[in-house]
Amino acid sequence: MSRCKRLNSIKQKLRQLLCVGCAIIFSSFSSAENHFLGEIDWHGFISQSYVNTNQNEFMGTSTDGSWDANEAGLNASWRATNNLQLAAQALYKRTGNAKPKGTRLDYAIIDWRIQDRLEYGMGLRAGRLKNPYGFFNETRDVAATRPSILLAEGIYLSYLRELIHSSDSLGAYGHLSTLNGTLSFDTIFGKPIFNSGSVRSLLGGTPTNGTVNNEQASISRLIYEHGSGAWRAALSYTDFKAEFEPASGEPYQAGDIKVNQLMVSAEFNWREWQLLSEYQWRTIHYLDIFGSDVKNKGIAYYVQLGYQYSAEWSAFIRKDDTYTDASDKDGKAYTARFGGARPAHNAFAKNIVYGLRYEPSFAWSFSAEYHRVNGTTWLPDLENPVVSEQQQYWNLFLLQGAYRF
């Protein structure tokens, strides 16, 4: 058994090495001097994290120190004609015991630019698209593009990523230079990419072998950004619905699940300082599934203050809070609803994060982060199956090294 485990871990290490190898080979092709593979533009990334918690398991067996958190991707884009672009990305991602493991198609996009002027542009997209949600959703798997190792989990849930991550969809986009800045609009309509774990997450962590059908998502975002990059603000809206069908013998009924998310995002940059904040209202509505209608109006937000010490060094401090039900912040009603089977601290998570990053070049980045968490909303049951053993107060320490080209 343990030999099998070790073999798997060796296999995994080999796979990572292979990814690094590919990354380095492809990076040598992508320089301007070397026009290998014609006009195709290749890029990729790889990162490895170390996770340590004092109690509770997060991204693997983290109380012993976990290396089960890594990601690697390779993408290609090709400008077929002046207004038609094709692009696709393969992604390997491992987040502790969360599915899916292995490599999968992350996006595959046909982008048709209908209007293209220096002052404005608009177009249509089709295929597997990244959902335009908040500031960071589209590039959330690329370490260097995140302002921290872990994005605010209450908003960018690692374990519910399929719901907000990407969709097989149709999209429209546009941008307009106005008032010394740029106004951009993105909207998509389609089917989110799900797996068996997503159904359980959708039901609020409740164990189920049920299935969802006819899932639909529509997501829109409006961003204004000042031309200098000094500040930007965004409004994002997500509307998701699906039909739930329980497995035979389960104490649930068939019914609809509806999720609405509204988010306001803002970022201010002043000299070496950066102030970043996003505030999300999430309503999850279960029709018939639990007998009567259940509606959870949750909120999640964070405020992050960053300091760019030099071109290479930066640090930040962040406060992020999540409440699954804004009218039940201490979780008393929540635990009563489950007859005490789930603790009150499952209903909230209040977190303070301190982080540091060293970026010696475009390609490399090294980060460290320390979280002090009160609450377990985004602590996955998957890693902590004995709910009564989940601890309210826990600390999370992460290290991450990342390479990209």
């Binding site: 884009s77 031309g227 990059g229 540091l356 600390n395």
Partner: protein, 183 residues
Amino acid sequence: MESQQYIRLYFRPLYFVQTALIGLSLMSMSKNSLTTIIAFLAFFLLSINICVAENTRLNEGDAQAQQLIIAHPEVEAPALNLNELRSIFSMRARLWPDGSPITVVVLGDQHRTHRQFLTNTLKMLPHQLRRHWDRYIYSGIGQGPIQVNNQEQMIRFISTTPGAIGYINTGVPHEQVQTLELH
């Protein structure tokens, strides 16, 4: 001048953050000593490195060279304004007014000429421009710029690529390319 910079160094807020981190790590020592020790060592080493990096940066000096916008001789863009130039360099616009494709050529993110071009001409924060490119490169909705290693390569590439645009320091010979005016 030097001593003033050193004084400023002492009051950098990062030190408060680090002190807080070390303090908090010590507080959590009773629960998990390994985490604490790793955190403590990491931040101790990093704080030393920051001092070194910061002093290197201060001693680099800051000769304020000016930059010229250069383009392939056949590019027809008589009068670009700042919004249009930002639209080109952030890779939003893909075509010149005559319908031919734009190719943006840049030096590395940390190259001094690149940073000076962003500050003096585009009047943008370097990290903000990189953020636009990253979104295009890693979410499949656009492409990033072509990167070259030095100004000689920049001139050579632009002079041989129709629709190409870039920048160089004033005083670098550039007969093979045209310069664009900003209005």
